[in-house]
């Protein structure tokens, strides 16, 4: 049956009687939706997320296709055939959106129970779509079927749409609690995009359909504005594609946005009338193409640079690991030779090789000191290497750190006094400060290291060591009136090999590993270490806090 509202359309859908807004709302949207869906799918067809986005694009494109036929065709049987898919496709769009967001948020497929639930929800629509429970007739005068839609069939998909909006909202809220900020932003971006799309799609479609049914509107032109929701969603997807590797689309992603925008703007030329409007649209189109090309090139360059940097980073990590192993090996070898030399010089001084002359004895003593310094340096490097590899084990037991600090300070007091330094120890008058830790490592790498540093880097004045309990922690501090720390040195003080700019002028044996090792050991005990200084020549203060047992 033919209705006489319009002349026969060409190619099923092209009618001169319809407003340009109608085609502008449909055709570019189909293009954008299908282009993005296809690009995403083609980039990685095996990925579930990509497949789901493609399915969503196809469903939406089919919905628009059906909509185009319904609006433009004049044959009742063709219109009804297309019309029979409306609510079916709407329901499937809602269910696919739930599936898509679930996979995006959890980064894995949904369970069989959820899949079955979604399928069961879709089943009434699939079964009843061709029956009279969907459409029973056609109005030749109005050229539509609004008066012949069943209530169930027009409400059920809207119910599914509402369910989708709520379900996705809950997924977004849940994911926002236990994801990293960068990932949370991506999820919010996609979630907001799909929520806007669903709300615009279902709300405008439902409201326009209901208001047209009861005669408030002559036709359901209002629903055309809902189609722009898909464009908004697709732009969101575009941003996601460009921002991250969510859909593994890489470089292609940056090339989709510009043609899509160009189509949207270019399509305006089909209905703008005045010369000014045409000129403005042309200018906008040219600017979009020029700026878009620049954008694509810039993103392409950035992506390539990022890929190059990532590849280099992996290569560097590999080389670094090889160097660490080599350093470890060499250090072990050097340590063995130094130990032998230490044994020889110590034996010489102890008379194992006969009585030495005063001059030879002086040389042997100096050499023994040098060899011991060398061994200490190699040990530092080895310790740092082991700490970084994670191959250091800690023998943690409860011990009184107050006692350890007092013993260590007593051991170096003479050295400090020989340099003319005043050594002050401030501890609680009595009582143990018990912590659970590896006493030997804390003593050697933290307490001794900090006190030694204070003595080495202080030409005159004092070295003050204090230890006391603060709440549930033990605070151990070493303060001196020495060379101080510049802000530049402070930035890399606790890094591997991060010694001060002029540190070797004062301490020739400085390896730059001492404070790095100290930090690793303190952190392995659940503590913190920090340095304070007002600048060069103004002394420094190192504070270690460890949890009490």
């Amino acid at each position: 049956m033919i209705c006489h509202l319009f002349p026969e359309p060409s190619f099923l859908v092209f009618s001169t009687e319809l407003s340009e807004l109608f085609y502008y709302a449909h055709l570019p949207t189909v293009f954008v939706a299908l282009a993005v869906g296809l690009f995403v799918f083609a980039s990685a067809p095996h990925q579930l997320l990509n497949r789901l986005l493609f399915v969503l694009s196809i469903l939406f494109a089919l919905w628009i296709g059906a909509n185009l036929v319904v609006w433009t065709n004049i044959h009742s049987q063709v219109i009804l055939f297309a019309w029979s898919f409306f609510w079916l496709l709407s329901g499937l769009i809602a269910l696919t959106a739930i599936y898509l967001v679930s996979v995006f948020v959890t980064q894995r497929d949904i369970g069989p129970a959820q899949k079955l639930l979604l399928a069961v929800l879709a089943l009434p629509l699939i079964i009843l779509a061709p029956t009279k429970a969907n459409l029973s007739g056609f109005d030749l005068v109005a050229c539509d079927a609004f008066g012949f839609e069943s209530e169930f069939f027009s409400f059920y998909p809207v119910l599914l749409g509402t369910l989708a909006v709520g379900w996705i909202f809950i997924l977004l809220i849940r994911s926002s609690r236990n994801t990293a900020p960068a990932r949370r932003f991506e999820i919010s971006l996609l979630g907001a995009g799909i929520e806007i799309f669903l709300i615009l799609f279902f709300a405008t479609d439902f409201i326009s359909s209901q208001l047209t049914s009861i005669g408030v509107f002559e036709d359901s032109e209002l629903e055309l504005y809902g189609l722009f929701g898909m464009t908004i969603f697709m732009v969101y997807i575009e941003i996601l594609l460009v921002r991250s590797t969510t859909f593994s689309i890489g470089l292609i992603a940056s090339q989709v946005l510009v043609p899509a925008l160009a189509v949207l703007i270019g399509a305006q030329l089909t209905f703008v009338q005045t010369p000014t409007s045409i000129a403005l649209t042309c200018i906008a189109l040219i600017f979009t193409l020029i700026l878009g090309t620049i954008l694509v090139r810039s993103i392409r360059k950035e992506v390539r640079l990022r890929q190059t940097v990532e590849a280099q980073e992996q290569e560097l990590e590999k080389i670094n690991a090889q160097q660490v192993n080599l350093l470890h090996f060499i250090s072990h070898e050097i340590k063995g030779n130094l130990n032998k030399a230490q044994g020889v010089f110590a034996g010489m001084l102890e008379g194992d090789y006969g009585q030495l002359s005063a001059e030879l004895s002086h040389i042997a003593k100096g050499s023994l000191d040098d060899v011991r310094g060398g061994i200490a340096m190699v040990m530092d490097i080895l310790d740092a290497s082991n700490l970084r590899k994670g191959s250091v084990s800690y023998d943690k037991k409860p011990f009184d750190i107050r006692h350890t600090v007092l013993a260590t300070t007593d051991a170096v007091r003479n050295v400090a006094m020989a340099r003319g330094l005043q050594v002050e120890v401030i501890t609680p008058p009595s009582g143990a400060l018990t912590i659970n830790g590896d006493e030997a490592k804390l003593e050697k790498h933290v307490i001794r290291n900090l006190v030694d540093n204070a003595i080495h880097y202080t030409q005159e004045g004092f070295v003050r060591v204090s230890i006391h309990a603060v709440n549930n922690t033990v605070r151990f501090a070493v303060e001196d009136s020495g060379v101080g720390i510049t802000p530049e040195d402070m930035a890399h003080l606790f890094t591997e090999g991060g010694k001060g700019k002029d540190s070797t002028k004062i301490n020739v044996n400085s390896t730059g590993y001492g404070l790095f090792i100290a930090r690793q050991v303190v952190e392995a005990h659940g503590g913190t270490i920090r340095a304070e200084s007002e600048g060069a020549g103004k002394g420094s203060r190192f504070v270690v806090e460890l949890p009490l047992a």
Binding site: M1, F81, A119, I126, P130, G137, D139, L140
Partner: protein, 131 residues
């Protein structure tokens, strides 16, 4: 078959179901033309209660009509694709599977009816079964 195996085959099952659904729609609407068509038939206000249809918003021009409903395939058989110039569409005939012609209900205060001649009420929804 457990739930997981069913879930694995769901995409294929759904695709087949959708294809069948589309085929059924095609068969019903395009091949069988199994649906009701509502259209307007000419009405004489001199002898019948007619609906008044406005040609424009100001209703400066109008026409009188009654509302007809018939099965699409009956109309196709009788009139081809166009009911506008088809006398068979203006009345119910025995071969119609379903047919109603509704005249304006003058007792309905919201109905825009036009009756020139008072007297005999001609509103007569008809339903003729296939012979």
């Amino acid at each position: 078959m457990d739930a997981e195996r069913v879930a694995q085959k769901l995409p294929l099952i759904l695709l087949i179901a959708l294809a069948l659904s589309a085929a059924a729609s095609f068969y019903r609407f395009i091949v069988l033309e199994d649906y009701i068509v509502r259209y307007e038939v000419p009405c004489d206000p001199a002898s019948q209660d007619c609906f008044v249809g406005c040609e424009d918003t100001a209703c400066a021009e109008y026409h009188f009509y009654a509302e007809a409903r018939k099965q699409a395939r009956d109309l196709s058989a009788a009139c081809g694709g166009d009911v506008s110039e088809c006398p068979a569409a203006e009345r119910c005939v025995p071969s119609d599977t379903y047919c109603t012609i509704t005249y304006c209900d003058t007792t309905d205060p919201d109905a825009q009816c036009e009756t020139v001649q008072s007297g005999a009420q001609t509103e007569e929804p008809e339903l003729l079964d296939t012979l």
